[in-house]
């Protein structure tokens, strides 16, 4: 049986890892990327998301990316400011398993077709940042700064039709608050697409993962919960296993 995935997010501002908070004030340091990624890799996570929010990554820092990908024996998805096939190509070469694209899809959605044709749709994840305004889900880009006129549901299905292999659905309203995911948003998303849906934004305890699971999430991405609480991915898994959620139990090498 396919397992749901526990995915810690690393938000990188070019200098340090930071904690997200409704996409604002992303200044609070959350540690060094190398130390963090080694800890995650040793702690039973199912996958790692690394997002560069510095917007200085027009050229990919090969040594930096390699220093991280060399430490992991689980899949790693890399995103943040990626707008070109050549950047994706470099990142795959430096060890990324998936590329996460976001802002570019508001300018050029053909890149989804191009990228999924070239690298396979399984390697192309589209992340959509959403904010609820007057009971409507509206899409935002450029780190949540610009509102798009595109309709959320149309955009979602269009991305999948064009070849996105996975959708990360991120609630800006819930981001960093640790009060739980936007479960309505997860429910709508998973009912509209037939690719895996990764819940993001708002997890603060293990029950939030369970709620997202019940609403159709295939994976739970989270950052703050691991940075600033006693919660760990391994304990999250124990909790979910007890609730009979399909979870990967790590094999202990002798």
């Amino acid at each position: 049986m396919l397992k749901v995935r526990i995915i810690p997010i690393m938000l990188w501002n070019g200098t340090t890892l930071v904690k997200g908070n409704k996409f604002e004030n992303e200044k609070r340091s959350a540690g060094s990327p190398l130390t963090t990624i080694k800890i995650y890799n040793s702690r039973d996570v199912d996958e790692i998301f690394f997002f560069d929010i510095s917007r200085n990554n027009n050229t990919i820092d090969k040594d930096f990316i390699l220093s991280m990908t060399d430490c992991v024996t689980v899949p790693i998805a890399i995103g943040g400011g990626i707008e070109k096939i050549s950047q994706m190509n470099d990142l795959f070469e430096y060890g990324a398993d998936k590329i996460v694209i976001n802002s570019i899809i508001f300018k050029d959605r053909n890149i989804i077709n191009e990228a999924s044709k070239r690298f396979g749709s399984q390697a192309i994840t589209v992340s959509i940042d959403v904010r609820k305004i007057n009971n409507n889900y509206e899409c935002f880009y450029n780190l949540g700064k610009i509102k798009s006129n595109l309709k959320f549901k149309n955009l979602l299905t269009e991305c999948v039709d064009r070849g996105a292999g996975e959708i990360v659905i991120n609630s800006i309203d819930h981001d960093g608050l640790m009060n739980g995911y936007d479960n309505e948003l997860i429910k709508i998303t998973s009912s509209l697409v037939n690719v895996p849906v990764v819940a993001s934004g708002g997890a603060g305890n293990y029950d939030h993962f369970y709620e997202a699971y019940k609403n159709g999430a295939d994976a739970f991405a989270a950052a703050s919960i691991y940075h600033f609480t006693e919660h760990t991915p391994a304990k999250a898994k124990k909790y979910l296993l007890k609730k009979e959620v399909p979870i990967r139990e790590n094999f202990i090498i002798e």
Binding site: S121, Q122, N250, F251
Partner: protein, 206 residues
């Protein structure tokens, strides 16, 4: 003496993570670009991501087809195909149209929807295996161990005794296959944490 293994680089896929995983097992690893070099080794990995068609076209274009076949026909050698690297061991593949595979293990690679799968594809993530036949590659691994998969196509194997383990996702499909000295996993051992390391270790120690 350290074991020497090679990874075939035919211009596709993420070889580095496999390289790193093998390094952790204290083996000497070489990435080889020239089909002639394969004969310097007796344990070789054939990795692969992307589409069947792209992979097999590159294999043929660069002249790997004959060297891989010659290599595997010597029973003292061992070959390990990973993901698309396993799929192209088959007779035919149907991704982006029909293409001839390496025809080392009899079978076709067909889209999982065409085989009756009705779940979301691609099949991405951690899934368990059911071990059907005892094999050196699964030694010390508990049944139901989870591995990391990324696939929409799966191998329809002709000889069921070459089926070592299967995985269920809408359909039950081969996740580990073996014919004599040729092994294949549909999952990525190099991305499968400790369980994956155990598989790689088993192959190296074989």
């Amino acid at each position: 003496m350290t074991t020497k293994v090679a990874i075939i680089n035919y211009g596709i896929g993420n070889i580095r993570s496999l390289y790193n995983s093998l390094k952790k097992l204290n083996v000497e690893v070489e990435i080889i670009l020239n089909p002639e070099l394969i004969f310097k080794f007796n344990k070789v990995f054939l990795p692969g991501v992307g589409s069947y068609k792209d992979a097999i076209q590159l294999i043929k274009k660069i002249g790997w087809e004959k060297s891989i076949k010659d290599f595997s026909s010597n029973k003292n050698n061992k070959l390990f195909g990973i993901c698309v690297g396993m799929q192209i061991l088959s007779t035919y593949g149907y991704e982006h149209g029909k293409s001839d595979g390496l025809d080392i293990i009899k079978g076709d690679v067909e889209h999982m929807y065409k085989q009756g799968c009705d779940l979301k594809l691609p099949h991405i993530g951690w899934n368990s295996i059911k071990i059907l036949n005892k094999n050196l590659i699964t030694e010390n691994l508990p049944n139901d161990s989870d591995f990391y998969f990324v696939n929409s196509y799966s191998f329809k194997i002709v000889n069921s005794d070459q089926l070592i383990a299967t995985t269920k996702y809408g359909i039950e499909f081969p996740s580990i296959i073996n014919k004599d000295n040729v092994f294949g996993t549909q999952f990525h051992p190099e991305k499968s944490s400790n369980a994956g390391m155990q598989i790689l270790k088993n192959f190296i120690n074989a």
